[in-house]
Symmetry: C2
Subunit: 197 residues, 2 copies
């Protein structure tokens, strides 16, 4: 999937790569769909939550949350082709459940009431996933761009002053910094909710 993407991936190619036949693949997995579930699980297996080993405990819940979010973001960045799969299935495999459990548990350990911990986790997870989707979505190949043809040629840049002003401002920071900036918004908002209770 990393090499060719989800749409070009097919069972014949995988069988060839494994020096076997497609029929044999079906002796190990129920079908392509189940295989894609394992792909997502594999991605999530690479994510650790800080504080799991005693040597590396985060000082604040903000550190822990930011670190976990960055881990998730980087895992997706290293395997962007997996993104359409994340949009097509709920990751409820063991690794997905474990990551969620450790993250919420960490917040609770830091004194969060369970409902706030859950809302904070959801806000953060949704932001990370959304960011990754927008960033890596369908990096269109040369053919696809050509296929869309002159569709967008007529767009007048002067019609979009705010977009352009903003784009100029954003090109000066790295994507990871932009990711961290948005993350900070959410952490600050969560902190405000936490202090208010």
């Amino acid at each position: 999937v990393d090499e060719v993407g989800t749409s070009a991936f097919n069972m014949r190619m995988l069988a060839d790569r494994l020096d076997t036949s497609t029929a044999t693949l079906y002796r190990h997995v129920a079908g392509k769909e189940e295989l894609m579930v394992y792909v997502v699980e594999r991605l999530l297996s690479g994510i650790q939550v800080r504080g799991e080993d005693q040597d590396d405990r985060p000082g604040t819940w903000q550190d822990a949350a930011a670190w976990g979010a960055l881990q998730f973001y980087r895992a997706i960045s290293q395997h962007p082709n997996v993104l359409p799969l994340l949009a097509a299935q709920v990751p409820v495999g063991p690794n997905g459940l474990a990551a969620r459990e450790r993250s919420i548990g960490t917040l609770i350990d830091f004194g969060f009431p369970a409902p706030l911990a859950a809302r904070a986790y959801n806000a953060l997870a949704h932001y990370v996933l959304g960011f990754a989707v927008v960033q890596h979505a369908g990096a269109p190949g040369p053919d696809e761009i050509a296929a869309l043809g002159n569709y967008f040629r007529g767009l007048d840049p002067e019609l979009y002053p705010a977009t352009i002003a903003a784009a100029d401002a954003l090109t000066e920071v790295t994507l990871e910094q932009e990711f961290l900036d948005g993350l900070q918004f959410i952490l600050d908002g969560i902190d405000r909710a936490r202090r208010r209770r």
Copy 2:
């Protein structure tokens, strides 16, 4: 796409529905991929930004931002099958560009410097998309659940105390409320950044 989803949708069915042949479809669109670009554009066409007509100006930038985010969220909720498409393509069609332009422009009108407006827009848009992806992702049909079989049967609920405590806390609020709660985190964080400059 609304009726059968992206994977079941095919050109023969569409041709039948239009009382024509598949070959004729290719006289109007370059292929299925281009058609899917139009599907996303169609979804985005339903989104308006408050303040576009003089009668309904938002009082604060928070009102405007929350309203726009909710519009986007509801548009996706009404067409959840479109979500995999949003993860597979960057919506750079006219409607996508226009929505972005009006949103950032509104923040600038409210006194935001362009870089902060851009970062705020990105954080909000990413959150909304991520929330929608997680919420609506591949609502698995009965067959798919059966296909995964006993895969998750062995999971011990006692292994996931934090997840369960959080889930219990969350089942008491509607999804839209949960969405708005997370949104509030981000708005508060943006407000803090805005005041600080």
